[in-house]
């Protein structure tokens, strides 16, 4: 009952951690040997640039990239901290609090595309990257990725890291058990569209009764939404005037209805994404197929574990190209060393940084230069039966248009998907789900 006491302690720890972070961020002038060499534009005083990111497994995949930079730049040392694996409900609220408080953020912060609308509307918190010459990088990025880094004042404040793209991850061994083809080319041909996909699912579950076809509602929903949004004016929950269109955008209705039909057909394992049960289900083979942006490949590898090596593979997605997720790096205005931070940001979002991240975390580069590099284009993934991930995700990201994500996209997305989870698990009747879905989204936007 004395929960209050416990919370008090937690709060105290939180405060301590926050202030410790503030201290590390401020007190970054570490005395270090100022021997010559290294970075050409290195300042006289050595500085530490803190990079804060989020994400599960290998998250942004910056381990090697940072090691390499630090070896070459004794005067600008990078300290990479991955704060949490959850973005919308942990990383984002903490980042906003630190921005508001004026201290505690990293010199460089990672931002998921879902919160870019929110950050674009708050230009006062971020450094204009144009003043450090980073606006010259426009040609490196697809228009979609570049435009999203420009805030409401028209200033460049963030550069792209990875891009999601879209494919389907599937259990090769279970497919073969069900008498379906296991080869990724043939699997891709099994499902040109979502109707065909459903037929495959029914066939699969007949043959392998212990395993569901899909994991749950979230991945399927986001996969379809990522394909439908570009067909419906490149918007999702909000139109370009930041008005909520959750009830009007056909893309959302299509994605919702498709998820509903799969759920009603009993083709899902009723697992909500990024929960312990979902992780366990991935490991224990509770389902056979999952919508798979590039970064999800790393998540599956982490969750399914070594014993499932070779069981998974990657095939084309029904219904064509789309993009789910992908991130950006920005420099908060509170950074004491914006110039040096800009150099690091330039490196991490440059060709070498992108390639290193792809190798480490399968974070598919948004940088066009990096995409064309053989290290990316020809990369295969040994965990996924040597699937040519470079080719698959490269093809899925070609010609993508920017999807506008409103200022409150993250909140609405979380609330709406919660209803999908409830519908799938049976706590919301199918007949009421659409109304509840709109209601939850509208409330989160209000």
């Amino acid at each position: 009952m004395l929960n209050t006491k416990r919370q008090g302690k937690l709060a105290a720890i939180a405060v301590l951690t926050a202030s410790a972070m503030a201290l590390t961020a401020c007190g970054s002038d570490e005395p270090a040997a100022t021997n010559a060499g290294g970075g050409s534009s290195a300042p006289a005083e050595p500085v530490t640039i803190t990079v804060h990111t989020f994400g599960g497994g290998n998250n942004f995949g910056y381990g090697e990239a940072v090691k390499k930079w630090n070896a070459e730049h004794p005067n600008i040392q990078v300290k990479h901290e991955n704060l949490t694996d959850r973005f919308e409900d942990v990383y984002l609220p903490q980042l906003l609090q630190k921005l508001q408080a004026g201290s505690g953020t990293g010199d460089i912060v990672g931002i998921d595309e879902g919160a870019m609308g929110l950050m674009k509307a708050r230009p006062q918190f971020f450094t204009d990257l144009g003043q450090y010459g980073l606006d010259s990088r426009k040609a490196d990025f697809p228009a979609a990725k570049w435009e999203n880094g420009i805030n409401k004042d028209g200033k460049l404040f963030a550069l792209g890291t990875d891009i999601g793209g879209m494919a389907m991850c599937y259990r090769k061994d279970l497919f073969e058990k069900a008498g379906l083809p296991g080869d990724r080319e043939e699997v891709g041909k099994l499902w040109p569209d979502w109707n065909a996909f459903m037929e495959v699912g029914k066939k699969f579950q007949e043959k392998v009764p212990g395993t569901k076809f899909l994991d749950g509602p979230n991945t399927l929903y986001n996969t379809i939404l990522s394909q439908e949004a570009p067909k419906n004016g490149n918007i999702a929950y909000f139109d370009t005037n930041n008005q909520l269109v959750i009830d009007k955008n056909p893309a959302i209705k299509t994605a919702f209805d498709t998820v509903k039909s799969f759920s009603e057909a009993g083709l899902t394992a009723k697992l909500a994404s990024f929960t312990n049960e979902w992780n366990a289900g991935t490991k224990k083979g509770a389902f056979a197929v999952m919508g798979c942006p590039a970064w999800m490949v790393g998540v599956i590898e982490g969750n399914a574990g070594e014993e499932n090596k070779g069981n998974w593979d990657v095939a084309a997605v029904p219904g064509g190209a789309g993009n789910w997720g992908g991130s950006y790096l920005a420099i908060p205005a509170q950074s004491k060393h914006p110039k040096e931070a800009a150099e690091v940001l330039n490196y991490l979002t440059g060709k070498d940084g992108h390639i290193a991240a792809f190798k480490e975390a399968n974070a598919f580069p948004s940088s066009l230069v990096a995409q064309k590099d053989p290290a990316v284009a020809d990369k295969t993934n040994p965990y996924f039966n040597d699937a040519p991930v470079g080719k698959i995700f490269g093809a899925s990201t070609e010609g993508l248009l920017p999807v506008f994500l409103g200022e409150k996209h993250a909140q609405v997305k979380t609330a709406a998907e919660k209803v999908l989870e409830g519908m799938d698990k049976g706590s919301i009747p199918y007949a009421e789900a659409w109304d509840k879905f709109i209601e939850a989204g509208t409330k989160a936007a209000g």
């Binding site: 919370q7 959850r86 609220p93 906003l96 366990a280 909140q411 409830g422």
Partner: protein, 326 residues
């Protein structure tokens, strides 16, 4: 120092004037000592009040101020007056959270206090290995709330949980414990009871041991059964302690947070797809730090404060009647 201050205190009851006169005579003449005597106690208790002002009163007032605004986290702030409160009173989601909180409180606390009372009574008897049992019931308290919740949540897992496995032996189909209010409330209530029953039992046991033995001896001479002794002597004598235990349980129950959050398995603070087990504390965090609406969250926090006061008043009026003497 403290001894000097405390020592005359009992004497005061019989004759305050004379007692303080004596002390004055002894100490008179030394101004510094008198100042020391008068001021030091205040000085010594002041850290608490300073900290309370800083971390208790100020946030309380500031929250009130924020609650009068449309206050977005790291965003715009506009004065609204009482709009947040009127919106909150009409908000179904808020009342849903209130119902959940009170529901979980009732099904967790009432059995818990009854169990604690019976446990304390049993441990107050001469039984073999008394110390072992007394320590044993207190053991759950040393585990962290979060750890308890994590373990219980796994026990209540749909696919791989032990509770469903045991139920399946009796032919019960796998229950998704998070899905309905009743099942989620029960699951959360068991977490609370597992951790806090022993704690309350120990407090009640300590109070029981202060009840004079001769009361029981006299009662048994008069032929009162042990059951009658329990209801007619033990329970009425425990009343002040029971009131304390009920107060603390009420505050803890109405600010319930960690268990349902861990039970959900992700920190969205939604308490299930339709908020089946979202407590008021979760509602506040969700509004403030998931939807970034600090003003609305602050208003909800003040409503919770009011609810706790009401809850305590209701419980006080109940517990006062225990024993039926007054």
């Amino acid at each position: 120092m403290t001894l000097n201050v405390d020592a005359p205190a009992p004497a005061r009851k019989t004759g305050p004037r004379r007692s303080s006169g004596n002390r004055g005579a002894k100490r008179g003449g030394n101004g510094l000592a008198r100042f020391d005597l008068r001021a030091t106690p205040y000085f010594l208790v002041s850290p608490y009040f300073l900290l309370f002002t800083l971390f208790g009163l100020f946030p309380l007032g500031y929250t009130l101020w924020v609650s009068l605004h449309d206050w977005e986290l790291a965003g715009d702030k506009t004065f609204l007056g009482l709009d947040n409160y009127t919106e909150l009173i009409a908000d179904e989601a808020f009342w849903n959270a209130v119902v959940n909180t009170v529901g979980i409180f009732v099904i967790a606390t009432i059995p818990q206090l009854v169990m604690a009372l019976l446990l304390a009574n049993a441990l107050n008897k001469r039984i073999r290995g008394r110390l072992f049992f007394r320590l044993g019931i207190l053991l759950p308290l040393v585990t962290s709330v979060v750890a308890v919740a994590v373990v219980f949540t796994q026990l209540y897992g749909r696919d791989y949980g032990m509770v469903n496995w045991v139920l399946s032996l009796f032919g019960v189909e796998a229950i998704e414990w998070q899905n309905q209010s009743w099942s989620a409330w029960i699951a959360i209530a068991t977490m609370i009871d597992w951790r806090w029953t022993g704690y309350n039992a120990i407090i009640l046991l300590a109070a029981m041991q202060t009840i004079p033995k001769d009361l029981y001896e006299a009662a048994s001479l008069d032929g009162a059964s042990p059951r009658r002794q329990f209801w007619q002597i033990t329970v009425p004598m425990l009343r002040p302690t029971l009131i304390f235990v009920v107060f603390v349980s009420t505050i803890g129950g109405l600010t319930l947070f960690a268990e349902p959050v861990m039970f959900e398995g992700n920190p969205t603070m939604a308490g299930g797809a339709t908020g089946q087990y979202q407590t008021v504390a979760m509602f506040i965090v969700k509004e403030g730090f998931r939807d970034f609406d600090m003003g609305y969250a602050s208003a909800a926090a003040w409503m919770l404060f009011a609810l706790i006061l009401i809850g305590i008043l209701i419980n006080y009026s109940f517990t006062r009647r225990i024993g039926g003497n007054k």
